[in-house]
């Protein structure tokens, strides 16, 4: 039932009734049928000839009612309909890019939300829940092929795509698990993936776009937050290493805390005019060398650990005996790396600020 509106003082009232009837009868398929009816009627009204030159343009020729000047709310409505509301005149086509130009939202056009939607809002009614962009399937495939097929060093892949090394490692791990699942014919949750990714803003990592995230940030050590006045001679060449030593005995300078220190050389070469391709090739070669030496060191460490280990296989389990020096308990006998459950130390299981879940991949 259409609500009754007061007529008088407002020449649009019979048209507003029509508008509301139109909305209630036709449901959601053509939400603006009534509004388009208003626009058409108003234009018709403006073009009809006036009986008297003194009567205002939008009133009926025989009417003596006051002129229908739009009030503030009506003026704002018309301004919105002509401005932001223009995109709601026609229903979105799922095969075309959406009105905000966002094609990465699942099914092309996507829903046309009233109200500001900058793509980071995940839930329509919750403005406070904003999401950072998430790697799209295309981006993940590109990263996986760069690491596994092109065999590029991790640091080079990180610099190429502007993605943190830990995230690249996670992508490679998840993709290989997915491949194993497909090979062993396990069902994948594809509909769930599509639904969740459609809600989130996605990043394709196209060249020329903004970098996805900072990849070479240095962690700020608490010891370096203190302001120090370190007297030193003027002739002395005070380096970052000296500054780190001044803050603490085991504090590292920023050069040793960078995740990808080879990028400094790369930027220096690019700044000094070396051609981009040559500089990047040299960067990839440098990172390959450092990663190879690191892999060699890790392998050596594992071989040394294996010398101290005895493996005994029984019919059920393998018993791994690790030899160690029980006298290596530190200066006070309470060394952190000493072997054995401690005596007289209470359990911290119920303490609230303890991390009780694994913090790294093993």
């Amino acid at each position: 039932m259409a609500p009754r509106l007061r007529s008088g003082g407002n020449g649009l009232s019979p048209l507003l009734l029509t508008c509301v009837e139109g909305l209630s009868q036709r449901g959601g398929s053509r939400p603006l049928a009534g509004l388009t009816a208003i626009i058409q009627n108003q234009s018709q009204r403006i073009t009809t000839p006036r009986s008297s030159s003194r009567s205002p343009p939008c009133s009926a020729p025989f009417s003596t009612s006051a002129p229908c000047e739009l009030n503030r709310e009506q003026r704002r409505m018309w301004a919105w309909l002509r401005g932001q509301g223009k995109k709601f005149k026609t229903a979105p086509d799922p095969d075309q890019p959406g009105p905000d130009g966002d094609t990465a939202r699942g099914n092309g056009g996507g829903p046309n939300y009233v109200g500001s939607f900058d793509g980071t809002q995940v839930f329509r009614n919750n403005k406070l829940f904003k999401s950072e962009p998430v790697l799209s399937e295309k981006a993940r495939d590109a990263i996986f092929s760069a690491v596994v097929e092109d065999q590029l060093p991790l640091k080079a892949v990180s610099q190429k795509f502007g993605v943190d090394m830990r995230r690249i490692a996670a992508v490679v791990r998840m993709r290989s698990i997915e491949r194993n699942w497909i090979a062993s014919k396990k069902p994948l949750a594809k509909p769930y993936q599509r639904a969740v990714l459609a809600m989130l803003p996605q990043a394709d990592l196209n060249p020329g776009e903004m970098p996805f995230e900072p990849i070479n940030d240095i962690h700020v050590h608490m010891a370096t937050m203190q302001q120090l006045f370190h007297p030193t001679s003027e002739s002395r060449h005070f380096t970052r290493r000296d500054a780190a030593k001044a803050f603490g005995a085991h504090t590292l300078p920023p050069d040793h805390k960078l995740r990808i220190p080879e990028m400094i050389d790369l930027e220096r070469k690019l700044a000094s005019g070396v051609p981009s391709e040559e500089a990047h090739d040299e960067f990839v070669a440098q990172t390959a060398r450092t990663e190879a030496s690191r892999a060699k060191r890790l392998k050596g460490r594992r071989t040394m650990a294996e010398l101290n280990r005895t493996r005994v296989a029984t019919d059920r389990f393998e018993f791994r005996f690790e030899n160690f020096n029980s006298s290596a308990v530190g200066r006070t006998g309470r060394g952190r790396t000493a072997v054995g459950w401690r005596y007289g130390v209470p359990s911290h299981d119920r303490k609230p600020d303890q991390v009780k879940i694994p913090t790294k991949m093993e």
């Binding site: 194993n180 005895t310 005994v312 059920r316 389990f317 393998e318 018993f319 791994r320 005996f321 690790e322 030899n323 160690f324 020096n325 029980s326 072997v339 054995g340 459950w341 005596y343 007289g344 359990s347 299981d349 991949m361 093993e362």
Partner: protein
């Protein structure tokens, strides 16, 4: 006073973790020992990237100190003996065989009209009716 090499239980409920300790026999199980020479985690674990499902048990043992205590006469318990024998510090313990149980004759009722069944032993003489 016997010096023993035994396991002291720590860990959590249903999640034991043992210290391999050398201590006097009459002290409490979890009290401070003479020396801690290793740890034993009885719960088998798998490797992260191993899909075969094989499990292993992690044991840390100071071989040098274990050999010393065995040499001066510390008595290991059953489990500790088993672990020491796995790495060759002690000979595996051979327990004597359990006594064989004789076959119990089947109950055939109050009025024994049928003959008693023959004994299962191959060389035993046939049972004499009493």
């Amino acid at each position: 006073m016997v010096v023993k090499m035994r396991l002291a239980r720590f860990g959590r409920r249903n999640q034991p973790f043992y210290n391999i300790v050398v201590t006097q026999a009459r002290t409490a199980r979890d009290s401070r020992p003479l020396e801690v020479i290793g740890t034993y985690d009885p719960i088998p674990k798998g490797d992260s990237y191993d899909t075969s499902g094989k499990l292993h048990k992690d044991i840390k043992l100071d071989k040098r100190r274990a050999q010393y205590w065995v040499g001066v006469g510390a008595q290991p318990t059953e489990t500790v003996w088993r672990l020491l024998s796995m790495i060759g510090i002690l000979q595996p313990k051979v327990n004597p065989p359990l006594p064989k149980q004789r076959a119990v004759p089947k109950w055939t009722g109050l009025f024994d009209t049928k003959k008693a069944p023959a004994s299962k032993k191959p060389n035993a003489p046939p049972p004499q009716p009493n």
